[in-house]
């Protein structure tokens, strides 16, 4: 197992902990957890792409970075106005 995959595994453990955090508690707490989860999942994809030597995972990471920002802003807007 390379250093890349070890790092990806650790980041995935952190992502799992974030998932548990997001699954309970008030909605505002969950929003912050969701933002952290977006960054961690993008990081995990980059590390897995390098670890498994797959170019396509890098494309996924780039798209996920853009989508994470947009979706988080939508959730922020909903939280501010309606939820």
């Amino acid at each position: 197992m390379t250093g890349w995959l070890v790092a990806a595994a650790v980041v995935l453990v952190a992502l799992l902990a974030t998932g548990l955090f997001v699954s309970r508690g008030p909605v505002a707490d969950r929003l912050v957890g969701l933002e952290l989860g977006g960054v961690l999942s993008t990081l995990a994809l980059v590390l897995l792409a390098e670890g498994f030597n797959r170019d396509i995972y890098f494309d996924l990471a780039v798209v996920l970075a853009a989508v994470t920002f947009t979706s988080s802003l939508v959730f922020v807007r909903f939280l501010e106005r309606w939820l």
Partner: protein, 107 residues
């Protein structure tokens, strides 16, 4: 083990340590404004360190450039997202993001 491999391992170790610390901070912090402070290291430091590790291994080929794009995206939008989230949390809590009368008197 070459110097390049050592540099990559150090960069990855630092990135993972920052990510773990930020995750623990988000989970253990007292309130959401405190939690937002822990989002910044993972979106600014960890992504840059991982991109640096990819560039150290691959140089500036397609993979290195994509890793740099991811880091640049989080560097650019991370603070914007943090500010928007803090604003939303304050509006949700107080109805307005501006200072209230009692807060202004306390200053």
């Amino acid at each position: 083990m070459t110097g390049q491999q050592v540099a990559i391992d150090v960069l990855l170790g630092l990135a993972v340590a920052v990510a773990l610390g930020a995750t623990a901070g988000v989970i253990l912090a007292r309130d959401n404004l405190d939690r937002l402070h822990f989002l910044t290291p993972v979106s600014v430091v960890s992504t840059v360190l991982v991109a640096a590790a990819v560039v150290a291994r691959e140089a500036l080929d397609a993979r290195g450039l994509k890793a740099l794009m991811v880091a640049a995206a989080f560097l650019g939008v991370g603070p914007v997202l943090n500010q928007a989230t803090a604003r939303a949390l304050r509006v949700r809590e107080r109805g307005d993001w501006r200072l209230g009368d009692e807060e202004r008197e306390r200053r």
